[in-house]
């Protein structure tokens, strides 16, 4: 393998693959390194995406889709169920991330990207003027130094690539969703509904989800605000829920994960380095959904990185164009969503029950996610405008 590259992407998730693909498409030589043995595994994700968002980014392959979702069902602490139908033009998909992630990496490789798994990056190298110019990696057990013009850090929630370059990526504990999930089979659930449970007994400062995967299988999991899980852990909440609701279900898969529920970092580029996806904190701070936003963010980064390679300019100043592109495409909206999330964290079980009651008084045909959130911020009218801007189109 050659040791000089235009671009080295650290992390082979959807954001990494999209950035690699788009850098290569515009002419850069690209190496993508994944620390795990297989792209797409383990699946630390509830696997839900919006159809329109995904279609804008890539030609969707039916093999990626486990189920199609046409409504959500939110269950409040006193068991009030509030169903909201999606706009028929923008339904949801539950993906099979194992196949999906694999295919994205494959598409990247078909565009000229060199992909390597079992490749752990444990450091960066710097030029005399302090610009990032490569990575220190262990590839299949062999220590190597690889040089690059630009490193793309797509190394997920635990991102250390940014830290190696002096960027402040550490999350506050209130901004992490501490999560566990199980793929459960042999359960009788509606295959076209995503269910959400809110409240102290399910998931304090977060929510519990049931996302159907077809054939009486569902991804069931929950995320709890990091500052609310020191006594009872996410695994305890999930255990209680599963034994109560699905005592006879089989557990085919059980994984833990952390979700960065925060607005995008202020600084996501420096000389010779850009951060993307979960590493740049591009997850929707309310839903915790990060697939489409990470892919979009990765694409924008890839395009600007390729441009930087062409113009032989790897400075922070040039790479900031990517940051500006992302701010317009999603970062700005995430700032609003983060403000709304911080208010929602203050809601009590009684508040949730009150909101559910209010929403259930609206006829189902007239309900929308926008209306739910408008009612949710009723105690803080100053947020209404943010809600309208953030959720218009839902």
């Amino acid at each position: 393998m050659k040791s000089n590259w235009d671009v080295i992407v650290v992390g082979g998730g959807p954001a990494g693959s999209m950035s690699a693909l788009h850098s290569a498409k515009y002419g850069a030589s690209v190496l993508m390194l994944e620390k795990d043995r297989e792209i797409g595994v383990p699946v630390r994700c509830a696997e839900g995406v919006g159809v329109v968002g995904l279609q804008k980014l890539i030609k969707v392959d039916e093999r990626w889709i486990k189920t199609k979702i046409d409504k959500i069902d939110i269950i409040s602490p006193n068991n009030t169920s509030v169903k909201v139908k999606f706009d028929t033009k923008d339904n949801g998909y539950i993906l099979d991330r194992r196949i999906f992630d694999n295919d994205l990496a494959l598409l990247a490789s078909q565009s000229g990207v060199t992909v390597k798994t079992k490749s752990y990056v444990h450091g960066l190298t710097f030029s005399e003027n302090g610009s990032v110019n490569g990575v220190k990696a262990n590839i299949l057990g062999k220590e190597v130094n690889l040089s690059s013009k630009i490193v793309i850090g797509a190394d997920g929630v635990e991102s250390r690539i940014g830290r190696f370059a002096g960027l402040k990526t550490a999350l506050k504990i209130r901004d992490i969703g501490s999560s566990v999930q199980a793929v459960v089979s042999g359960i009788d659930i509606d295959q076209n509904t995503m269910k959400f449970y809110v409240g102290e007994k399910y998931a304090p400062g977060g929510y519990l989800w049931i996302f159907p995967k077809g054939n009486n299988i569902a991804n069931i999991g929950l995320g709890i605000s990091g500052n609310r899980c020191d006594i009872k852990k996410p695994k305890d909440f999930l255990g209680i829920f599963l034994s109560k609701h699905f005592p006879n279900g089989s557990i085919l898969n059980y994984v833990a994960g952390g979700v960065p529920l925060v607005k995008t970092l202020d600084k996501i580029v420096t000389d010779g380095l850009v951060l993307i996806g979960d590493a740049a904190r591009t997850v929707n701070p309310i839903s915790g959904g990060g697939i489409v936003s990470g892919m979009n963010n990765g694409k924008l980064a890839g395009i600007r990185v390729a441009e930087a390679i062409k113009e032989n300019n790897f400075t922070e100043k040039f790479l900031k164009k990517y940051k500006d592109d992302w701010y317009k495409a999603g970062g700005k909206n995430h700032e609003r969503l983060y403000k709304i999330k911080n208010f929602i964290l203050s809601l009590t079980d009684n508040d949730f029950d009150h909101i559910a009651k209010k929403v259930s008084m609206i006829p189902i045909e007239k309900r929308s996610v926008l209306k739910v959130f408008k009612l949710a911020v009723w105690r803080k009218p100053s947020l209404i405008l943010d809600v309208v801007k953030a959720f218009s189109g839902f």
């Binding site: 997920g156 635990e158 991102s159 250390r160 830290r163 992490i176 501490s178 999560s179 899980c229 994984v255």
Partner: protein, 59 residues
């Protein structure tokens, strides 16, 4: 000192993401805490989804 119950760990990196001094190293199926760098803030213990980390007295 933080003790890792490694057989319970899922290597998800939630602890790494909140560590203020970047003293946790996460591999595919291995996790290490650099006790020289650790400042005993215990944030990692708090946020772990699985209760893998434990504070132990050094004595």
């Amino acid at each position: 000192m933080i003790y890792i119950k490694e057989n319970l760990c899922d290597f998800c990196g939630t602890c790494v993401s909140v560590c203020p001094v970047d003293c946790i190293e996460l591999f595919e199926a291995k996790i290490e805490i650099d006790n020289e760098k650790c400042i005993d803030c215990n944030l990692c213990v708090k946020v772990c989804p699985l209760d893998v980390l434990e504070v132990k007295d050094e004595k």
